[in-house]
Amino acid sequence: MKLNLIRFAAMAIITLLSFGTAHASTLNDVKAAGHLKCGINTGLPGFAFTDDKGNWNGFDVAFCRALAAAVLGNPDKVKYVNLTGKTRFPALASGEIDVLSRNTTWTFSRDVDLGFTFLGVSYYDGQGFIGRKSLGIKSAKELDGASVCIQTGTTTELNLADFFRSNNMKYEPVPIETNAEARAGYLAERCDVYTTDASGLAATKSTFKDAENHMVFPEIISKEPLGPLVRQGDDQWADIARWTLNALIVAEELGVTKANVNEKAKGTKNPEINRMLGKEGSMGKMLGLDATWAVRAIAAGGNYAEIFDKYLGTKTPLGLSRGLNALYKDGGILYAPPIR
């Protein structure tokens, strides 16, 4: 009994010591740890997946690598934490991860109420529907009375309810937790249509044996701006992450690629490239990093276009066109503020 008491006292002291040290600076914490803790999806084609060597890859993962390269000088110094829709926010809020790059929609309540800072938009997505061509309809507005398979755990259910309510239509929701079972339900005709983000529909359709018998309806019923986010309250860290994302977009605009970034870092005629790559001005110092932070971020996986084409573009199984995600000068809405 006495032994128990001592054990309890010891446990209490250990708990006391291990709890409650406030995070002073995420940048210092990351540097001290020697690696970046990046929250990613548990597996989503194109965005976060493991290659045949077991390494994490994908559009969301590429941002983690660029950030690690900018901060720590090495894109491989990332510790990936796989998070579900349920665990992602507590993990970020509690400090288990330094940045969340997990196809997360930027919404008012997440930004304001949950106390996070979104860094910008890395992918403009929107929710759509896929259905069989044999249904004989051309538009999602003709779906009155249909059964709809939904993958739960996102903003999907809410958009769906809003869409049907505002169009004065009825439907039967069939919410299923994982993409695999939701797809099985759709293929067995448990539902007439399947709904998720358009990028997800493309990924799902690419796995169908009879893909030509299915069609994605033209309606996009929601805005889903996906982007990385950090905890609110550490502005320096948010700036570093935000400008790493912006640098990748600006690099595409200015024609800086993975192949020529080291060449251009030696100096060019374009002052904006020189500022970004550390030849002119002191952008890196303002962020609390060294001058060549952006060079390393771009060298890690290339600029925005290179990352997009590698994981999501028309040459990949997902086969997504740039669409809204093209640069503003190419007809899209991707527009990063200038680096000056």
Partner: protein, 384 residues
């Protein structure tokens, strides 16, 4: 008594340590709780339960109470809780019936029957229940597609989106039908008491089962026909995508129900078997010596004694079934966990929602065990 003798006294020394231990544990728990709360507030993770009053903005396909996407999160969680209770009650009833039959059949002298039941028990209880849920769901999804629904008289339809039954609309005159129905129930209670007394006095057995069944169906039906049929039925019709109208039992509910009840029934059958085997064989021999039929021996002699062994482990099986129902989320039956997950995602209130889950299952389990303990007390052997 001086201090030294206090210390050497075994009883007081034990008491001192026990008090110290209790105080220690209490302080430790209080510390953990207050530390957790402070840290959660610091991290902005715990912001209370006020979000339950916000608009849910999502839809639910199976709802026992009025609910739409303009209802609140709190109401959505209640709808989910009721769905969990529905599957728990349906599952417990079916598992008990299947389990008792399987348990008795396994002791059958018929080799084929007892072997078949053994195979069922060993197969079902050794495969993870999640896989069985998905298995049943996939089986149900391979039923005819909605456009080729099987139908009985064009009023009951079966397809891979469920079983669609006519639903009843009650108009004003239907009160009388219900009054008659409850009247019959009360009358039956008195008939039962009377037949018991008569059997004790004269030994004559009254055919209670048939009388009850006849009265329950016949009298309300007669009232229904005499009062120009106040209940009309909403018969499903074929719509563009789905059947319209009526009442739909989803394949998710049926799959979950089949999986949970067959899985739990396998365990219950083993409990029933052990209960029956615990009754001494002299009881059975004595009963047949008195000339009782085997079925009556089982019902009146063996099972009542076996129940004393069966009930306590049976309670844990009921609790297991209730808790396993949370696996519903895999196939999209909207139970409390499925709906709670959606609420959690929309509102971001992870800890609050998880705490609601815990309190809900705890309450449900405690109610179940309280009821089973009461029943156990009732059938206990009266000892003097």
């Amino acid at each position: 008594m001086n201090t030294k003798s206090l210390w050497t006294n075994e009883r007081t020394r034990g008491l001192i340590f026990q008090v110290l231990l209790v105080v220690g544990i209490a302080v430790f728990i209080a510390f953990i709780i207050s530390n957790t709360i402070t840290n959660l507030e610091k991290a902005g993770l715990a912001s209370g339960y006020s979000f339950l009053g916000d608009t849910a903005s999502f839809d639910i396909n199976q709802r026992l109470i009025e609910y739409s996407s303009t209802s609140t999160y709190g109401r959505a969680i209640i709808v989910g809780g009721l769905n969990t209770i529905v599957i728990a009650i349906l599952g417990i009833l079916a598992a008990t019936v299947i389990g008792f039959i399987a348990g008795i059949l396994r002791l059958s002298k018929n080799y084929l029957i007892s072997r078949l039941v053994t195979i069922y028990v060993e197969f079902v209880r050794n495969v993870p229940v999640l896989l069985q849920i998905i298995f049943w769901w996939v089986i149900l999804l391979s039923l005819p597609k909605v456009r080729n629904s099987l139908s009985i008289g064009d009023s009951i339809f079966l397809n891979n989106r469920g079983i669609r039954l006519p639903s009843a609309n009650f108009s004003e005159g239907s009160v009388l039908v219900f009054l008659v129905f409850f009247g019959v129930l009360i009358t039956l209670y008195f008939i039962k008491r009377w037949s018991h007394k008569r059997q004790e006095k004269t030994g004559k057995i009254f055919p209670f089962g048939f009388t009850a069944l006849g009265l329950i169906i016949f009298l309300p039906a007669l009232t229904f026909l005499l009062t120009d049929q106040p209940i009309d039925f909403n018969v499903p019709t074929r719509g563009r995508f789905n059947l319209k109208g009526g009442f739909n039992v989803t394949p998710e509910l049926v799959a979950l129900w089949l999986a949970l009840s067959t899985y739990t029934a396998a365990f219950i059958s083993e409990i029933v078997r052990s209960g029956i085997l615990s009754v001494s064989s002299g009881q059975r021999e004595a009963a047949s010596a008195l000339g009782l039929k085997p079925s009556l021996t089982m019902r009146k002699i063996i099972l009542p004694q076996a129940l004393r062994v069966i009930i306590p482990p049976l309670t844990s099986q009921y609790l297991n079934l209730t808790k396993n129902s949370s696996l519903a989320v895999a196939i999209g039956y909207q139970d409390i966990v499925s709906i709670g997950d959606t609420v959690l995602n929309q509102s971001g209130q992870a800890l609050e929602v998880i705490s609601i889950f815990m309190i809900f299952y705890l309450t449900l389990s405690l109610i179940t065990s309280a009821f089973m303990n009461w029943y156990n007390k009732r059938i206990e052997l009266v000892e003097r």
